[in-house]
Structure formats: structure tokens, C-alpha cells
Symmetry: C2
Subunit: 352 residues, 2 copies
Amino acid sequence: MSPRRVTLADVAKAAGVSRPTASLVLSGRGRELRISQDVEQRVLRTAEELQYRPNIVSRGLRTGTTRTIGFVSDTVATSRLAGDMIKGALEAARERGFMLFIGETEGDAELERLLLQAMHDRQVDGLILASMFTRTIKVPPSITASPAVLLNALPSQPTRLPSVLPDEVEAGRRAARVLLDAGHRDDIYLIGAGPALRDVPPESVAAVERLIGIREAFAEAGVEAAGARPCPDWQQDLGLAATRDLLESARPRALICFNDRIAMGAYQALDDAGLDVPGDVSVVSFDDHPIASWIRPKLTTVALPHYELGRKAVDVLFTEIGRDHATADRRGEVHRVPMPVRDRESIAPPSA
Amino acid sequence: MSPRRVTLADVAKAAGVSRPTASLVLSGRGRELRISQDVEQRVLRTAEELQYRPNIVSRGLRTGTTRTIGFVSDTVATSRLAGDMIKGALEAARERGFMLFIGETEGDAELERLLLQAMHDRQVDGLILASMFTRTIKVPPSITASPAVLLNALPSQPTRLPSVLPDEVEAGRRAARVLLDAGHRDDIYLIGAGPALRDVPPESVAAVERLIGIREAFAEAGVEAAGARPCPDWQQDLGLAATRDLLESARPRALICFNDRIAMGAYQALDDAGLDVPGDVSVVSFDDHPIASWIRPKLTTVALPHYELGRKAVDVLFTEIGRDHATADRRGEVHRVPMPVRDRESIAPPSA
DNA sequence: GTCCGTTGCTAAATCGTGTTAGCGCCCGAT
DNA sequence: ATCGGGCGCTAACACGATTTAGCAACGGAC
């Protein structure tokens, strides 16, 4: 098929030197080891002419490093949102000349084990363990075989793995401030969680943290939420029901919805009640799901920075790879990626 | 960090045999080469006990096969739709013990070249060259270095590469039949392309093929489309404008929209005109974009089978890898993957 | 002339596996 | 007793790179 790859031996032969000499020159250690300028130039030119490219598999065998990292997730590739995480990781890796193995576990622990095994069999230099939505995960024991980073996930048990997460607390503050800055102080309601910290969907890290941030920002401004309607799950129909329920007994002037699907339900309930967004009621939300730009008026929301999360995970992984194993005594730090506000059309000053 | 991997030499030593013997037993060629049952059992047991796993990097160096395939696309990972292509490919590959390298070119030829290079440097066993939407692509010359398959793409110049594509012509027939089966014969309009084969967006393979299928099914039934409004691009606002334009001069009883975004625009125009879907006008479309299930009434559409496309691409790639290079004289076949109809709520019998 | 230090390169080992050729043993046939 | 041949395994090389140790040549000092 193809005329066989050019190997280091070919280059050495064509340049009239030994294989190790060619290797030294090409790995940039020529100076250090006193290879003459003459030979150095000859080797470099020959390599260029023959279009030599080192075989990374072979190099991997010798050096143990394959310039490859594994990206294992529960079901990231499917969702559009989290596809951006992969994209961020992909680009950050490419900038360093690394490639990505992708694997999906579908939440199956056995599958996860096999996948990690398959990646270790291929001598990946590091691993990213990603979750589609923020949650605590059980860290598989075999993960310690190489440097690793948790992405969008927290370890259920203390570990030395670093993790990368969206800054949900700050996001909560920002959502609250969007309303405060627009002049809202009264009749602000929460849909999806609250008012107490225990009124959250089970296992939702994001819910708790967003709520904390919201309450912080409110407290700072001396404002208090007028009320809240928690939802057991953050789905559109539950958001619709919760908002409907709220409207029976109250007349909100602003809503903080805990995610965009809930906001979509809220839109519907408000529309049914003849209330205008943002004229009568302002709505702010979280996630920046694609529907946030589909629905009218376009939804102002605090975005999950998937792309940046992916990039950051790779960055952290590289410092982890670079770290001397001897100094690996630090406990897994948590890196927070800021969630940006997407200002759209669902916010207005409070109605008179 | 980890206590070093168990190697074949470890197994051989523990079992009291030579390395090659262990290798032969574990590669299943023990019988063939008359290794005694006794030794065979001993080796197998020891390997099991030590949890031996062959190092694929090393094997790759020796055999040239890394049990790895490369998936290079223009911008697949980002879009939710095409994420399913990756998922299909991922699963099909996993079933055979293969892993996937993912790469995105963003349509940049230079990036593509570098990416293919990086994959060849890692000795991938095969490549899938994917496009997010069906189109003709210029096949990079370096692709011939390994077996390859085009996914959702046709070569702009004749090549021996096989390609995998959605069966758009049959999809066109199916969309037409959805209406015919519901009893529609008159006042059926096309939005997005037609009526002539040249009235299509530039470079859109799908448009031409869908149109052909539609006209075939109509011809078979002795029906003719009442008219058509082509769009230069298949976006929502253009679908809205085209449908609005149509409604000024006609009163359709059924629309075939060339994709779901156009259908969404059509919904809006129909709603503005006070027409009910499907009571007054039935709508059928293509793609099964996520919005098809979001909008009300839910849209009946002929789905792009992304998941199956991904799987099929891997299947075809494997027959390509397995094919003896000597017999590689066959010219690139085109494999068509059926597009299934998603029956939803936008179709009704024609109004009286 | 001998010894030593420097310069500039190469021989050889290594990574973990797969594969080919061949070695020693035992048995039966001549 | 010798030879041929099947049996059961191992020695040795290969894959394509990196890395350590060391060799040859030369110049200068004594």
C-alpha cells in the first residue's frame, strides 16, 4: 500500500552517521553531547528531505510516554453540551501534540473498568474522568496507575486526585446580582430548589452550591427571597408545575430558575397566566442549554463553561503529569472554572 | 507510583517456562505448535494469577497493529447530532477491542494534515474521515497510508475509499409516502428546495437526493407537488420567510420541509396565519434534530441515523482492514444507511 | 615517548512482545 | 549401533526508537 515509513535508521544511513547520533541530533541533545555542527546540519537536512517522522509507538515502548491521554466519561459524547468539554480537551491536548482516546462508560462500573484497562494497555500518559453533570463519583482503584484528573465530578472518598468543576457558588451569586442590578429587591422567587439548603434534588451538587451563592448575594444586599418551589428533578414539566403552583398564591416579579429546562416550564406557566417576560416577570437561569437561545424572549442564564472545563482539565492533567512523583503529597485540589452570565432578553427592571 | 506492570517475562518466569512459550500459549497458538497440556495450563493459570495484560504498545511495535482507529471529522464532537456518530463508532469499535482517537479539523486542511500525521505516527490501524453534514470532500493524499472510510462524505475525485452515507433518496420517498399514506394528494408544497432539481442550496447532496426521492414517490402515486419554495440555506428564518411567501398566494394542505429548522420556521408562519398543524396543514420534515421533539405539535420527521452511521463506518472499516491488499482492486463502494421515519403529531388526513 | 584530557562519535543494551529456526530428547526402524 | 523423525520447548532476532557506556583520534604537558 504505502511505501513503508521512513525510519530513524534510514535517516542515519542517508546522512552517513549511526542511528544514535541521528537520534541525539533530532532530540535536540546534539549540542549537549558535542555533536559537530557539520553532522548536525547533515542529519537535520536529511531528516527533512526524507520527511522523517518518529514512530510514537516505538518511542512509547522505550520511554513509556505515548503523548496520549484518555478521556473517559459517563455519556459525554452524546450530549451537545458536554461535547464542548471534549472539544476543549481536544484542542488543549493538540496544542501540546497530544491525542485523545475517548471512551464512554454509560455509568456501568464494569465497562469503566474495562475501558480504563484498555487505556492503560495502551500506556496513556494520563486520564481524565469526566461526568456529564456535576456529581460525586466512586473513583475506580485502577485509576492510580497513571496521573488523572476528575472533570465535573467530586470523589466520593478522599483522594489525591485533583478535580475541575464549574464555580457554581459564584454562579449563584451572579444570577442573584443580575436581578439585584436590574433593581429587583422584592417578590423574587426560586424555582427548582430552596428556600432551605436541604430543599434540593438528591445528589445534586450544583443545586446546593447555586443556592448558597444566591443566598450570599442576597444577604450582602440585605434582600431576601420571597419564597421558593423545589423540584425533585429539574425537568421542564416539573418547572411548569412548580411555577403554576407558585402563581396560585403569589405574584412574583422575578424568578431564579435552577436550570434552563425549568425556566422553559416557567415560561409556559407565566404565559398561561397571561404574564409577560420580562415586562411583568424577569427570569434568570443556569446552564445556557441550547434551548436558552431558542425560546422567546431569549433567556438570560449563567452558562456552564463546558469548553473551558475541558481545557482546564487538560491543563491540570499536564501539571499532574509534570509533577515529580516524590512531591505528590499534595491532596487533590479543586479547580473552579468561572461560569459567565449570558445577558439576553429575559431581564427588566421591576414593574411599578 | 504503581508497582510496575506485569510483563510476559514475569509470567514466563513464574510459570517456569521461556518467554516465547508463554507467548505462544497466550496467543492461542499453543496447540498448533504442540505445547503440552501441562505447560499450557501452567502458563494460563499463572497469567491469570498475576493478572497479566499484554502491553499493546509493545505489540504494536512488533506487529504493526495497535487495535486503534482514528476518527477525524470537521466538527463532529460539538454538534449533538453528530455526537451520536461518535457514539456509534465508539461502541462498534469497543466490541472489537479497539479504541478511538478523536480529532477535529474545523475544516482547516492544514490542521487535517497534521492530525492525520499525528494519527499515523501512532500507527492507527484505520481511519474514519467524517463530515458533520453530507457533502463532497477533497480526500487528503496521506489518507492512503492506512485503510480508511469516508463517513457522511463523498470523495470529490474518484478514489478507492468506501463511503458510508444516509440513504437520502429513500428518505425522500418515505417523507412523501407519509403524506400519501395519510391521504394527501393535492396542495402539497415543498419548502427548502425544488421543484426542479437545480433549485437546491449549493453543495447540498442531501437536497438533491431528497428531492429525487420525493419526486419518485409522487410519480409512482401519480401525484404532483403543487409547488415549492427553495431556500438558499436551511435556516429557521429562511423557512419562515419562504412559508410566509407561499401563504400569500396559496393555501397548502401539506408541507414537506427539507429539514427540521425550516419546519420550525414553517410552524411559525402557519401559526401567524392562523393555520393549525396538523388540522389544517400537515408537516413532514427531515433530520430529527432535537427541536423536532421540542416543538408542539411534535414534528414527524425522517431521521438522520447518526448512531447507525457511526457503527456502519466502523464495520466497513474493519472489512477494509481485513481485506487482502492484493485484492484491493475494488473501487470505493457507497454504503447507504436507512433513514427511519419518526412518526409524531404533525400529520393528519387532509382537511375536507 | 608516555600519559592524560578532550572531542566526536558509535557499540550495545533496553523497552515488551511476536516469530522463525533449530536444539535436544526419545522412540522406532534399519 | 546408527539413523530418521516426531515431540516439546528455547535461542535468537526483529520492531523503532532512546540512553549509557565507552572507543578512537588528537593535542598538549611533562
